[in-house]
């Protein structure tokens, strides 16, 4: 069997005394879409952030594309070059134009020429449907547009795996769908995605595997039909009933 895109085995993490991740086992096959949900504070962000080493786990192993994450800066760099990330707060660079936001990584980290980097940036801006905003600053865009720029910025690095940490939670309701639409289109193109979200409509549409976390543990996982149709654990049932009420 080919290497999993992402593989976490027995991963544990503490913030000081606080045991934030407990024996996380998670396998994401290449091209698979995984959606993680769970109550606030359950450790969803921490799981995702461990995958690209924004947080360090203390026990267990994490492999991305077969490469194990260690303290060796080379392994971190190797994994970061394969993994893109979209944040809840967009984290665009406010002092740069949209175009500069998109070309910075390709120019400085990938060594592309300016022409190549700009051509690539325009290609991905078209993918997220805002090619006409290239010369604006992030502050001049709506939240939905900013998040789409952030997605394009990740895509410009042409990662194998794309992580999303609640990408629509900071958005006004009317802008959520424009971002989700872009994500659904992406999902149809074969990239591996790990998405933390409470947008269950999106999850049903794209997820191959649903994961429910609570108190630092993966409590339940499975394909969306089973997951939504017949959740086994009480905690997951309760969470789903709360979230699906709206």
């Amino acid at each position: 069997m080919a290497d999993a895109a992402v593989e976490m085995v027995g991963v544990n993490k503490w913030f000081g005394d606080f045991h934030v991740l407990r024996d996380i086992n998670l396998k994401v096959a290449s091209g698979e879409k995984v959606v993680i949900c769970g109550p606030s504070g359950s450790g969803k962000s921490t799981v995702v952030r461990c995958i690209n080493r924004l947080e360090q786990h203390q026990k267990g192993t994490i492999r991305v594309g077969g490469v194990e994450l260690t303290n060796d800066p080379k392994s971190v760099a190797a994994i970061r070059s394969e993994v893109g990330m979209v944040f809840q707060q967009f984290n665009l660079f406010p002092h740069l134009t949209v175009m500069e936001n998109l070309t910075l990584g390709p120019l400085k980290a990938r060594g592309l020429s300016r022409d190549e980097a700009e051509a690539r940036a325009m290609r991905y801006l078209e993918r997220v449907h805002i090619p006409d905003q290239a010369q604006k600053r992030p502050g001049q865009l709506s939240g939905g547009q900013q998040q789409r720029v952030a997605i394009a910025r990740s895509l410009c690095m042409e990662p194998k795996v794309l992580l999303f940490d609640e990408p629509t939670s900071a958005l006004d309701p009317e802008m959520i769908s424009e971002v989700l639409d872009v994500m659904v289109e992406l999902a149809s193109e074969g990239i591996t995605m790990v998405v933390v979200t409470h947008e269950m409509g999106f999850a049903r549409k794209v997820a191959d595997n649903m994961i429910f976390m609570d108190a630092g543990e993966i409590v339940e996982q499975g394909p969306p039909d089973e997951f939504f149709g017949a959740p086994r654990s009480k905690r997951c049932q309760k969470f789903l009933s709360q979230i699906l009420q709206h």
């Binding site: 924004l54 070059s81 707060q89 406010p94 002092h95 910075l104 990740s154």
Partner: protein
């Protein structure tokens, strides 16, 4: 109480003005040949004061950044380098440090078999730069820390290394908050450069001291000296305000 004190302070020189016995402005009266010679002598220290201040500030601005960076590390062992440097340097009064550098450091160099003489000019620059670097380091640290963590994280996720993250993402944003206090530090350096007079550097204060010895007119000469610094600092302040306005207008993103 405060007001009486202030009135008294103002009265002293004013009272002096009325009686020609205490004031002898002729020593620095540019309309007389000897007065003009004296004024030229006093002002001729301006060049060294400015040169020492500018070079010391330039070194401090660079050194401060180098000291600030370990202070931003996640590891306490690396952060400790920054804390020890800042707390240590900040607690040394300028004058003892000046003596140590000017009289002490050459001995260390000699012991090490190095032939590096330290003249008053470079002694003053080294002292001012090191002393000030503890403060510029704190300015950098605060400025960089004011940039949200998400910016660094985003830079890391698009593959930028530490240097690139600082160079292209963090510092360009932090500079707006760093530059005005940095410029204020420059004023501090200009004023502290007066201490260099005690190791014999020919700057404004030294010139004034030398003239006082020959003319024995401390009141007039030191008054003029104060105005020399005042003018220098006012010019710099105007520059700082211009800079702040420029940075402010750039804020429209």
């Amino acid at each position: 109480m405060k007001r009486t004190l202030l009135a008294l302070l103002l009265l002293i020189p004013l009272a002096g003005c009325s009686s020609s016995a205490t004031w002898g402005w002729y020593v620095v009266d540019p309309s007389t040949p000897s007065g003009w010679t004296n004024v030229k002598f006093l002002i001729s220290g301006m060049g060294s004061t400015i040169a020492v201040s500018v070079i010391a500030a330039a070194i401090s601005i660079l050194l401060g950044l180098i000291v600030a960076l370990p202070g931003l590390s996640d590891r306490w062992g690396i952060r400790a380098i920054n804390r020890v440097y800042v707390e240590f340097i900040r607690s040394i009064p300028l004058l003892p440090m000046l003596f140590w550098v000017f009289y002490g450091l050459p001995i260390i160099f000699r012991e090490m078999g190095l032939d590096i003489p330290i003249d008053p000019f470079w002694g003053a620059i080294i002292t001012l730069a090191i002393s000030d670097s503890a403060f510029t380091a704190e300015i950098y640290r605060a400025g960089i820390q004011s940039i949200a963590r998400g910016q660094t994280e985003a830079a890391q996720t698009i593959g930028l290394n530490y240097y690139q993250t600082m160079r292209y993402v963090v510092l360009p944003q932090a500079i707006r908050r760093i530059l005005p206090p940095l410029a204020n530090q420059f004023i501090y350096i200009v004023k502290m450069s007066a201490f260099a007079s005690v190791i014999g550097m020919q700057e404004l204060t030294r010139r004034a001291n030398e003239l006082v010895v020959t003319e024995y007119r401390p009141l007039e000469i030191y008054t003029l000296l104060i105005f020399e610094y005042l003018i220098l600092v006012l010019v710099i302040s105007a520059g700082v305000r211009w800079l702040e306005r420029r940075m402010g207008s750039d804020e429209r993103a």
